[in-house]
Each structure stands twice: as C-alpha cells, then as structure tokens.
Amino acid sequence: MREGSFLREKIFLGMSFKEYLKNHATIWNFIALIILALSFFSMAYRLLYGLGPATNLSDTYPWGLWISFDILVGIALAAPGLTVGTAVYLFGMKDYKHFAKPAILSSLLGYIFAVFALMFDLGRYYRVFYVIGWSWGLDSILFLIAWHFFLYIIICLIEWSPSLFEWLGKDRLKEFFSKLGIWATVFGVIIAGGHQSALGGLFLVAPTKVHPLWYSALLPLFFLISAIFAGISMVIIESTISHKVFKEKIMNFKENEFNLKTIGLAKALVAVLFVYLLLKILDLAHYDNWHYLVTLYGYIYLFEIIGFVFIPALILINSIKMGNARHVRIAAFLVAFGVILNRFNVSLIAYNWYIPFSEKYYPTWMEVSLSLGVVTLIVLFYRFIVRRMAILN
C-alpha cells in the first residue's frame, strides 16, 4: 500500500494492512468476531428460511426480542443525542460540550442499527419504503414512528456530518453543516420527543393485553421520560468507557473536571428519575392498582421500579452529596438496566399477562445472537469512528 494513500492514512490509521491486522488481533476483537459470525449466520438463516424456523415468534407473540430489544430498548438507549445534544447546542451548556459529539454519534449509530435489525423482523423488509412514499396509514402510531425514525436519522446525520467532513478535509462542507446543526437540533428535539413517546403509544392499542400495572394512558409519557433518563445514564456510561479505552485520544484530560461534570449529569439524572417515580405513584393511585402489587406481576413491577429507579436515585443523591463520581457511574448502569427491564416488561412479560408463564415467548439462540451481533456492530463502528474523527476531543 502506498504511503500517505487515503486507505492507509484514513482507514488503517497510518499503518499498513498487515500492521493493522496485527494491531487488532486482541482477545476482545476475537470475541467480537465470533459474535458477528453467529449473528451473520442467524441473519442468513432468517432470510433463507423465514421467521418461523429462525425465531420463537408466534401468532400469540407477534413481537419478540428483536422488537423489544433492538427497537424499544435500542431507541431508548440511543437518546443521548436528544438529551445532551440539546442541552449543549440549544441551551448553551458549554461545560458539557465534550459529551455532545460522542452523544450524537451514539444516537446516530443506535438508530441506524435499530432500523437495520428491524429489517430482519419485517416479513417483507424489501417493501419498507412503502411506508415513506407509497401507501400511508395515517391513523397508525407505527406510521408516526416510521416517519420519525426516518427523519431523525437524517437529523443525526446532519448533526454528525461536521465531524465526517472534518475527517475528509472538506472544510466548506463542514462549515455548511455546522450552521445547519442548530436547526437539526431543534427539530431533533421535536422528532425524538414524538417518537420516544410513540413507542410507548404503540401499546395503547392493546389495553386488554398489557398488564394493568404497566398499561396506562401515561405509557407514552413514561416512555419519553424513561428515554430521557436512559439517555443521560448512557452518556455517563459511554463517557466512562471511552475515557478508559481511548485515554490516548483525549488531550489534556483532567480527571477532576471529568468527575465534576459526571456529577453534574447525575443531578439532571436524579431530577428526571424523581419526576418519573412521582408519575408512577400517581398512575398506581389513579388506576387503583395497589392490589396487583402483591401478585407475581406486582413483584416484577416493584423489582423494576424500586430496584432500578428508586435505589439508583438514592445512590445518586448520596453520591452528589459526597462528590463520588464512581457511585454515579454504578447508578447510571442500574438506571440503563432498568430501562431495558422496563421495555421487556411492557412488550414481553406483561404482554399477554393472562397466559401462564410456561406458554410465554422466549427467544431462540438465533434471535439472541442477531441482537448481540447488532450491539457488537454498534460498538465496532463507534470505535472505528472515534479513532478516526474528532469526536472525543
């Protein structure tokens, strides 16, 4: 390979192909490779033999892991762009500028790969563009989501493109998209708010199927608020990991300053968590669902709310007081896990709540491996881009 060629400088980080491969022969990359191999097998199997052989989906459970995890969880956890991006670019919270670019990148990758995963769940994926320009189901909540996904990916691309054009050395394009950035952010708030709540709204049409503890007229609001705290906790998690992994990329990294900002994020996080808790209690009281709390579903509900909303909120309060950024990070992990649990509860466990647990859906290994593969792809793409473009500094 020619010295100074595009491929060598931009793609292989200035190494020759051989050096690059050698450099990447780590145990983690090996694990990633195995996951990807299994995942690609599942994708091919699904495409060749159909959903029936590849998944445990049934007429009773038309939506399984791929919707619950890849879409409902994935999109909630891809909310960093909505939260931090907005705080920085719209409300001018310059202190958090360092968090904004990684946040936008993770939103972009999160959405793109959520839609990628969705292609395997759709029976006739090759018709997906029908919803954009062929036949409109204007009364459908899913229609709103489809359009909002489409628009939001464009918005994330605009927000991210200055980094891309800077990497490619196209200064004028970079300038142009930088100017568009604030408008993308404004519409991003509207669009993201709309579809995050609409994901909860999807289940409004199934009042008899979702357990009363989770079914509520407030479902859309719960999904929106939990996406906001999922977004903030993901920013904390992501920055923690990238500051460990990409230390060399971050010039003049100040541990103290970083910890202080993490605690700043914790303050926002705890506020949102309490709003959510308050509404949850209000919801319980309004529907008079207290008696369900002593059933099996009640325990699952309490496990979710107390274990992954209330307890992290307490940890956060304490760590803000003590100035302990490490505990903030632990709490952020709990909160993110709680959001995963919540989406699984609404869409799988509390869905069809009247059928016995033995008849409930559980994923096949192919469904699991495909989802894991998509997560791996997000991580690999994130790493690929962070190593090449000015995302972290």
């Binding site: 052989p53 445990n56 670019y89 719209l90 189901g137 899913l142 709309g194 192919m366």
Partner: protein
C-alpha cells in the same frame, strides 16, 4: 396428553425441517402448536381484496352492513364450520368426518383452547361450566371500527360496506402490529414463508356474500347456530331471542358495543368471560390511537415555537460573542 401431542408434533416438525432444510438447527420451539401455523401461500385474502377493489370501482352503495349472529346455546361443537371454511378458502383440510368426531374423542382437539392460525380462519373451542360443555366459534369479529385497520402503517386493511374487514397482501410489509392491536387475537401470520409472508384472516366470505350466498360456515351449520343478515335486523333478532326466552340467555349481546361494535354478534347462556371472550370497553381501539396521535402532533407544534425561538437566540448570542457563526462550531478552532 399434552406431552404426547408435543412429541408427535416435534417428530413431525423435525422431519419437515430435516427434509426442507437439511439442517437440525432448532431451538426450543413451542411444539404444541397445530400444523396450521406452517401453512403458507393462502390466496383467499388476496382474492377477496381484488374483488373488493373491483366492486369499489363500480361504486355500489349499501344501506346497512351485514352481520352474523352466533347463538352459542345452539352450537353442538361439530366443527363443520371449520371444515367448510377451510374448503372455501383453500386452507389445508381433512375429511369432514375427522372434524365431526372430535367432540366425542378422548383425547380431543378440544382439550386445549385454540386460536386462528395462518391456515385456519375459524376454530371452535370448548369450555366447561358445571360439567356442561359450551362450544364457541372464533373467527374475525369484523369490527365496525377495526383496530387492525388503524394499526396498519401502510393502510393494508379496509372495512367494506358489506361489513367485512379485508386485508390487502400487496401492501403489507409484515410488521405484525395488527396482530398486537387486535383485541380478539385474530390476524395470523405465515411465519414459514421467508419471502412473501402475509397476514391471513377470515374475510366474512366477502366473495360469497357479494354474490348473494351465505358465508361458508353459516351455510353448512346444521344446528342453526348462526344467522346472517343486515346488522340492524340481526341485532333485533338477538334481542327477540333474549326477550322471548330470558332464562335461556344472559342479557348481553356480545359485539353490540364491544370496541365500538362488531359485525359478528354472540348470544350465550353464561357470561362471556367464561367462554374466552375478552372483557372490552365500548371505546373503539382506533379512537385511542387517533387521540394519541392528535396529542403528539399538537404538542410537537406547540414545542416547535419556543425551540425555534431558542435556536434564533443561540445564533444571535453566538454572533455577538464574536467569530463563531453558529452554536455548533467546534473547539478545535480556538
């Protein structure tokens, strides 16, 4: 018994999978499922939709839609309606005798509560109360305001003037949201078709009804458990029966008001909750999604104003603070 069925179906399925794919990569499938879940390539839905399109173009107006009254006190569980439905809609079928026998068999297909599947648009279930069997036919209820229709994001459903809710496979993307939305768990999916899977469901025999015939299941019923007619007349008939024989029926016509009303109506002697019917509000499901969509759109528009103002504010602030032409200019400049 449950286990026997499982083993049988498992063997069946393995054989199928081995021959079809030459692979043995099967996870923990729910093997208790009936073979009708493997059905693919049904043509009834497409045929009916095409007929509907043609009729719509010719523009005939009807005063009232049709309805069917199912009198559960009369149903004897012969399952002939299932046979007739399969026959007419070209679904996988068995000899009529096999259907009629199952009532007295032990073990019997009635031992578990069944639902509709890709190759099975109607099923009869058996419920017991005080050791008395009650047979309940299940098929698409043909809602007046269908949840599946409002759930579909490519508008692949239509409520016809005749009362039937029809599905258009040529638009369907296969998201299966209609299956989530249907309060009666009716739409089924061809999970075993990798390339052109579709939703399948009862068409209320649109192709027969529009030619002056009865739906296949209604026609074959020898127990006179089903009546077909204009919805208003059918409702009248239902109340006549209740009023003439108040000790035989409970005072409830299921489907009159449930989810905004349905084109299939049921009479029973015991509460419908004991017969596998969901307890539903009067509000139509599409009303819920429509009001949600309205709220979201209003909030999005309301939110747009302060956000746009905020953006202008940020831009002008950045201009004043010098140099940076927008809020998004990056640190590396400084």
């Amino acid at each position: 018994m449950e286990k026997d069925r499982k083993d049988m179906d498992r063997r069946d399925f393995l054989k199928k999978a081995l021959t079809v794919t030459g692979l043995t990569l099967i996870g923990g499938k729910a093997f208790a499922e009936p073979s009708s879940i493997y059905s693919t390539g049904n043509i009834a839905n497409r045929k009916n939709w095409e007929k509907y399109e043609k009729m719509k173009a010719s523009g005939i107006k009807l005063e009232d839609s049709y309805a069917v009254l199912v009198d559960l006190t009369r149903c004897i569980g012969c399952r002939r309606c299932e046979w007739a439905c399969n026959e007419w809609n070209k679904n996988p079928n068995k000899p009529l005798k096999d259907f009629e026998e199952s009532k007295d068999q032990k073990p019997s297909i009635f031992d578990r509560v069944r639902r509709t599947h890709a190759g099975e648009f109607t099923v009869v279930n058996r419920f017991y109360q005080n050791n008395t069997p009650f047979y309940v036919k299940k098929q698409c209820m043909h809602c007046l305001e269908p949840a599946c229709l409002s759930a579909c994001f490519v508008n692949a459903f239509s409520k016809t003037e005749q009362g039937a809710v029809l599905y258009n496979p040529s638009l369907c993307i296969g998201c299966r949201y209609c299956m989530i939305a249907c309060p009666f768990d009716i739409p089924a999916y061809e999970y075993y078709d990798p390339i052109t899977p579709q939703i399948t469901k009862c068409t209320m025999c649109f192709d027969r009804v529009t030619e002056g015939k009865l739906p296949a299941c209604v026609e074959i019923c020898t127990a006179d458990a089903m009546n077909f007619g204009k919805r208003s007349e059918i409702l009248q008939l239902a109340y006549e029966r209740i009023n003439n024989n108040p000790q035989r029926y409970i005072h409830h016509v299921y489907g009159e008001h449930e989810v905004g009303g349905t084109s299939w109506l049921y009479l029973s002697s015991i509460p419908f909750e004991n017969l596998g019917f969901p307890k539903l509000d009067k509000i139509a499901i599409p009303k819920i999604s429509k009001s949600f969509l309205f709220t979201v759109k209003v909030l999005e528009i309301i939110a747009a104003a302060p956000l746009v103002w905020g953006a202008y504010y940020m831009i002008s602030k950045n201009k004043k603070s010098g140099g940076d032409s927008s809020a998004k200019t990056h640190d590396d400049k400084k």
